[in-house]
Every structure is written in C-alpha cells, then in structure tokens.
C-alpha cells in the first residue's frame, strides 16, 4: 500500500514540478521588439478595448472566462464553433477618435504547443474604416506570454486578480517576422497586401471574469504607394 501511495504522490509532485517548469520555462521568452516599431513606412494605427462590456458585442460559448455581452446575445454553443469567440468594437485612431468598426473572430488553434510555450489562436479581423477602406487581417496569436505573466499570477493571487502594466505583441504569424497578413478590400487600400501587428496593453485582469482594464492596438504598415505627382510628371 505504501508503495502505491508513494507512487501517486511522486506522480503528483512530478506533474506539479513539470507545470511550474513549463510556466517559468526560460527558453520561451518574448520575441522583444515589434518588427513594425522601426518602420519608416506609413502606418495605420487603430486601438480598441478588449474588455467585453466596452465592446458593441462579444460572444463565445457562454461557459468561458469572459461572459458574452450584451445580454441575450446569441452564444456560439454548437460543437464546431464552441472554441470560437467573436467581437465587434469601435476602432479608434491615434488621436483616440472613432475611425471605424472592427470585427474580430478567434478560434483556439490546433497548432497550440504548450511544451514550446505556444498557446495559439487563429484569428481574423474585418475592419471598415471610412478614411482608409475595408481590410481583412489574418493572423496567429500567441497568448503564452500573457498567460505566464498576467493570467497565471492573477490565478495565484489570493484576490484572484492582477494589476500592473503589461504590454506585449500578440501576433506571431503567419509572416516570417511574426507579422499578420493584411489585405485591402476597398477604399484607398483596395488591392494592397500589407503586414500588421496586434499588441495588447493590460492594466487589470481577473482570474474570475477576465479583462478588467485592457486595450488592444493594431498597427498596419502600408506599402510605399507610387507618388501620383511623380507618375504624372513622368507621363
């Protein structure tokens, strides 16, 4: 009997050590500087709230950490979409003025590898900003740094929450430099292929209800457009 107890205790202790090792794995560090932070090209900067109650709608399967908003919004409970969430929000420009509408749909990704520090979401944005046009952003996002540095400390705290300042790039692909692919659909960006980065700034997070105070940001780098005056003078 004592051998069985020792075996079970050993298994539990080993699993606990493994979990702690996985969370604090020093080899899964942040990528550091965003590839778009040093660009000279024109950039579209859009910000949005990631707190469900501050969005137009937010919905998921109804059993996740964050509750759908507003009341009576249809939940995504059917099996093929149970691991998906959808949000509609107002996108704001660099001066914090409304710039358009953004819809983000995210699904947990089968490319998640917790052993490698990859908690991946496959997500897409549809953004309509009258000043620029419509655009489609497709990306993979890695939430592991956020889980490790915000969600896990919130879960560990006796009050089940975390307060501080956390800023991180969420986009991890599909671009080679960890950038999102952006396609312009209409307006001045019609037909353009661009790259983008989504980042998140968190100030308060609850392990019971999710984001309390947090903001997301999308940076979209425009390719160099031909100067119309140069084109005209060349003719």
């Amino acid at each position: 009997m004592k051998y069985i107890v020792a075996l079970v205790l050993g298994l539990v202790a080993g699993a606990a050590i493994f979990a702690v090792g996985a969370v604090y794995n020093p080899f899964t560090v942040d990528r550091g500087l965003s590839p778009l932070s040093l660009t000279d090209a024109e950039v579209i900067a859009l910000s949005f709230s990631t707190v469900p109650a501050e969005n137009i709608i937010y919905t998921n399967n109804g059993e996740s950490l964050q509750s759908p908003h507003p009341e009576k919004v249809l939940e995504l409970w059917e099996v093929p979409i149970r691991k998906t969430s959808a949000m509609a929000t107002v996108m704001r420009d660099a001066r914090n003025q409304p710039a358009g509408i953004g819809i983000k749909i995210s699904s947990k990704s089968e490319s998640t590898r917790l052993l490698n520090g990859e908690a991946i979401l496959d997500s897409v944005w549809y953004i309509y900003a009258p000043q620029h046009g419509s655009m489609f952003v497709r990306q993979t996002e890695n939430y592991w740094p956020f889980i490790r540095e915000v969600a896990f400390p919130a879960w560990k705290s006796s009050a089940n929450n975390w307060r501080g300042t956390w800023l991180g790039d969420m986009t991890s692909g599909p671009g080679a430099l960890g950038t999102a692919s952006v396609s312009g659909g209409s307006g001045r960006i019609k037909g353009l292929e661009m790259v983008g980065i989504e980042s998140m700034s968190v100030r308060a997070f609850s392990a019971d209800t999710g984001f309390v105070s947090a903001e997301g940001r999308l940076l979209i780098e425009l390719p160099e457009l031909p100067d119309e005056t140069e084109e005209e003078s060349a003719l």
């Binding site: 298994l11 509609a88 409304p98 819809i103 489609f136």
Partner: protein, 187 residues
C-alpha cells in the same frame, strides 16, 4: 521523475486543442473549381445587426455607437450552416456607403479550416443575387481564389417554426496552378 516524464509525454502526445470538423460537402463545378454552399437561417442564426437608427437591433440590448462616421455602415454577424444544416462557422457581412462607393464585404470563418474574405459587387444581378470575388483567405483557403454569390431565399413552407428565410452563399474555389515536375511533363 515518473510524474515529470508522464506529464511531458501527455502534453506532447495529447493535442491541447482539437477542433471538431464537419465533413465538407463540396461538388466539382463543370467549368472547373470546387463549389461549397453555406446558409444562415434568418432570424435564428443572426448574432448581430448593427446599423444607425435601427428600431429592432439584434441582440435587443445592442447599443450601436452614435458616431457620424458609422452612419452609413451596417454590419451583421451570423452563424453559418452547411448543406446538412449543421452550424460550421461564423460569418460577417458589412454594407457601407462611402461617398459614391458602395462596399459589401463578407468574411466567413470556419474554425477547423480557415477564413475567406469576399468583396461583393454592390449591384445585384437579375434574380436578386450578388457575386463577389474571393479576395483573400487564411489557412486552408490561403492558396485559393474564386468567387462567391449571395442571395435571399424566402421560406414558403408555412411551417410554424420555420425561419423567415435564408441567406444562401455559394463559394466557388479555384486552386493555384502548380507547375508540373519535369518527369510529369515528359509523360
């Protein structure tokens, strides 16, 4: 040690996420390409209608931002179904007017497969359907081009619990041409 090895083995071998896949129902078009049909039953599958000045928003407590910039924007979100009437994804349709330009865009998101972005022609064809070009896609749809049509089909069954109608979407995917291997060319 056994616990460490067992945990590492389990986390390596057991997928953390396993998306449920509904088998795709695809037919081959006579002139090339693969055709797949989706639909949204209205009003059951409508998640959101957002537009300025609407009297019956969906969901009922939705507060559409009172911003002049969005006065001519109407955004709808739906669950979408395959031909077996099983929910397979989420779709967004946005219609907007920007000066003299009309914009109608669709995004279809199928969690296990990827997403498609379609720019529709704003002018409907005879019969009330619209056609648009697949502008971009992710994952399974990334290498595909093609087009998609949308049309409204009113329900005529008179069943008590029947939907008012359905939005039918028919996507035609065309794959990229891949160069033949030299050995294949020689054959």
């Amino acid at each position: 040690m056994l616990g460490l090895i067992a945990s590492a083995g389990a986390i390596y071998a057991i997928p953390a996420v396993d998306q449920v896949r509904e088998a795709s129902i695809i037919t081959v078009a006579p002139n090339g390409g693969n055709v797949e049909a989706f639909h949204a039953n209205i009003p059951m599958d409508r998640i959101m209608i957002g537009a300025s000045g609407q009297t019956t928003p969906v969901p009922p407590s939705l507060r559409w931002p009172d911003v002049e910039l969005l006065a001519d924007v109407r955004t709808e979100m739906f669950k979408i179904r395959n031909e077996r009437d099983s929910v397979v994804g989420v779709a967004v349709r946005t219609a907007a007017k920007n000066g003299d330009q009309d914009v109608i865009d669709w995004v279809l998101h199928l969690p296990a497969r990827g997403s498609v972005f379609v720019n529709m022609n704003a002018v409907p064809h005879e019969g009330g359907y619209r056609i648009g070009e697949i502008r971009a896609g992710s994952r399974e749809f990334a290498p595909l081009s093609g087009f998609m049509s949308e049309r409204w089909v009113a329900d005529t069954s008179e069943d008590e619990d029947a939907p008012a109608g359905r939005i039918e979407l028919q996507a035609t995917y065309v794959g990229e041409l891949e160069p033949l291997e030299p050995t294949e060319q020689a054959e």
